[in-house]
């Protein structure tokens, strides 16, 4: 090989290592490796001692036959995901997007900013605010209104209706992302279409039905899948607000795995439970990838000269 070509090849390799190397190392070490570890861990018997003594299918056996709490967790997960998704993340988000684009732009932007507050605040602060609002004694914000305005006895939402609380808390967060995406989609509808509809005689409701909603079909399906996945695996707010309680009353599947591992010390079992979520996650990620417009992201590179 002539010197020039060899030097170029060497430069190519160095560049590859220099530019992509760090990313590859970081991703493999802390993203890909854990997936593999989880796979292996699910088949061990690791407990509090953090030592592996044997490989076994015991975890899965426990999961499918002996674990009664699991069924409860599955039920709670189902109610939680379906309600939050259906009521807040998609429907309410759509409503917010439609309404904030129908009022003058500055006002719309202001209200959208307000609805972004929950998502933009640190989770601890947001959870703290919720705890204050639903505080069972008279100091809770909600109870102040209930007692002083309606004259009713104070309500204890945390203990009596914990599921409602986490649905609302997660719902506010979920609605804001959908609101952003739907608003951006609405804004990209060519204005002439609206003008044409107005001149054709359509009133506001008809315009929403015939011009706005058809253009939102794709964002809505994407959001539904994306948010379903997100609701299935995230438990941060639930952990902060109710810690999964009282007892296990608001423990969704993902939180259940976490609690089994870190509260009860059943690391292997927790890994096995997480494995289910990992599989769902991979499948959903692939499905969403199929759905998304990959052409632009996979555009061919500009140049080949090193």
């Amino acid at each position: 090989m002539p010197d020039f070509a060899r030097a170029q090849l060497r430069r190519q390799r160095i560049n590859f290592g220099l530019f992509l190397g760090p990313a590859l190392v970081l991703l493999f070490l802390f993203f890909v490796a854990p997936i593999v570890i989880d796979l292996g861990l699910a088949f061990t018997d690791m407990g509090r001692t953090l030592r592996v003594s044997q490989f076994t299918l015991e975890n899965f056996e426990r999961m499918f036959t002996r674990d009664t709490r699991l069924l409860g967790a599955l039920g709670i997960t189902f109610i939680f995901v379906v309600t939050t998704l259906g009521v807040f993340n998609v429907t309410f988000a759509l409503l917010l997007a439609l309404v904030t684009t129908a009022v003058p732009p500055r006002l719309g932007a202001f209200f959208r900013a307000v609805w972004l507050l929950p998502r933009m605040s640190p989770s601890v602060v947001y959870a703290l605010l919720w705890l204050w609002v639903v505080d069972p004694n008279e100091r809770g914000l909600l109870n102040q209104i209930v007692v002083h305005v309606f004259g009713l006895p104070p309500v204890d939402l945390r203990n009596n209706h914990p599921l409602l609380v986490i649905i609302l808390a997660n719902g506010f967060i979920g609605a804001s992302l959908g609101m952003l995406i739907f608003t951006s989609a609405i804004r990209s509808i060519p204005e002439h279409l609206f003008h044409a509809a107005r001149v054709d005689g359509a009133g506001s409701l008809a315009i929403v039905r015939h011009v706005t909603l058809p253009a939102l079909r794709w964002p809505i399906s994407y959001m539904t899948i994306h948010q379903t996945l997100s609701l299935l695996v995230s438990f941060e707010y639930i952990l902060l607000i109710t810690a999964g309680g009282p007892f296990y009353d608001t423990t969704v599947f993902s939180l259940y795995a976490y609690r089994r591992a870190f509260e009860s010390g059943d690391y292997a079992y927790g890994a096995a439970l997480s494995l289910i979520l990992v599989v769902i996650g991979v499948v959903a990620a692939l499905a969403m990838w199929r759905l998304m417009d990959m052409q632009r992201l996979l555009q061919p590179a500009r140049i080949e000269v090193h």
Partner: protein, 361 residues
């Protein structure tokens, strides 16, 4: 021709009463907009009120009390002021007049507030900033044997975590994003697809194996460990973002730099990087805020209280003290939120530049 007649003749019947139409149009437009606005206000109150309450409590509450009277008084002053101003805004056309009315309203509301609640304002709740053992002072004994570090320890830990994570992300994502944007290497498509899958993949499911891995490596309970994990998890997203920014830089700039004698790396450093300055700032701010607000990973991976970050600090303070003193907790919360809030407000226009394939993050 029949078609022509029916079409031409039809217009005669449509000669309408223009006055009535105009009146009806004005009415529906007014009621429609008012209804929409009312709806927005009603649903936004449950969000605004708690935040406002938190700020109020931080500055007025005393041990054992919650100072809700201050809150309602403040609302009673502010809400009518806002309502009056919005009516004025919609009916008065002249911008100068609106500004004048607005300023007078603010002045009136301000003096009213000062008169009514000014006396109750105090900074006592912020004593956690100077007195490290405020928890023991509140409870006769420290609960669950937990010792509280100084808030400044937590603050500096948070700062260290956020800054180092940001630096790592900026470097790694820029390098990788640039390479993907410019070079057609073998496996590029596979790499991109892999990144996409990782990006869509929910990282929280991996919290248990990551915990174990950190334990085995020996990085459990260290800021470095958390920082590496956070950086890795967010990386796919930021690589795409940086790639997007690099895609926007025309490659003839680099080509002319290279024909001028620069190597690839020099061209990258001297010519291309300055062009994506906006992207770099956006990524830096976003990554910083994200790390500042992180809770679940730090909770799982950090154990010793000298390693606490602000989010953990706030959580445990609330856990210990909330039944007794709302004020301090609120004050800590306000202190915690301030940096990210300031960043948001001042870097707004950078943050809105972030896109990934058309979907703004």
């Amino acid at each position: 021709m029949a078609a022509v007649d029916s079409i031409a003749g039809g217009a005669v019947e449509a000669r309408a009463d223009w006055q009535a139409l105009a009146r009806r149009a004005w009415r529906t437009r007014f009621t429609g907009q008012s209804a929409l606005l009312a709806f927005l206000v009603v649903v936004s109150v449950p969000i605004l009120l708690p935040y406002f309450w938190m700020v109020v409590i931080a500055f007025t509450a005393r041990t054992g009390g919650v100072a809700s009277d201050v809150l309602w008084t403040a609302c009673a002053v502010i809400v009518p002021a806002v309502l009056i101003y919005s009516v004025v805004h919609m009916s008065v056309g002249s911008r100068r007049l609106r500004l004048a009315i607005g300023i007078t309203l603010v002045a009136i509301a301000g003096t009213l507030l000062l008169a009514l609640v000014g006396g109750k304002l105090h900074l006592d709740n912020f004593r956690f900033l100077t007195r490290a053992n405020f928890v023991e002072e509140l409870r006769t004994k420290a609960t669950s044997g937990r010792q509280f570090p100084s808030v400044w320890t937590a603050f500096s830990n948070s700062l260290a975590l956020a800054l180092s994570q940001t630096v790592i992300i900026l470097t790694v994502a820029s390098l990788a994003g640039y390479y993907i944007s410019r070079f057609a290497f073998r496996g590029r498509n596979v790499f991109l697809q892999g990144l996409l899958v990782l990006h869509a993949f929910p990282a929280m499911t991996l919290i248990i194996p990551i915990f174990l891995m950190l334990y085995w490596i020996g990085l459990l309970d260290t800021i470095i460990g958390v920082m590496l994990v956070l950086a890795a998890i967010e990386l796919p997203f930021y690589v795409f973002v940086m790639k997007g920014f690099f895609d926007g830089v025309p490659w003839d700039i680099e080509m002319s730099a290279m024909t001028d004698g620069a190597t690839r790396r020099q061209a990258f450093r001297l010519v291309v990087l300055p062009q994506v300055r906006v992207g770099l700032i956006a990524v830096a701010v976003f990554a910083f805020i994200r790390a500042w607000e992180e809770y679940i990973f730090v909770r799982t991976f950090l154990i010793e209280n000298t390693n606490w970050v602000m989010s953990l600090y706030l959580f445990w303070v609330a856990d210990d003290v909330m039944g007794v003193d709302y004020g301090i907790v609120a004050a800590v919360a306000v202190f915690y939120v301030l940096p990210s809030l300031l960043l948001y407000v001042f870097c707004q226009k950078y943050l809105t530049q972030m896109t990934i394939g058309g979907i703004k993050g």
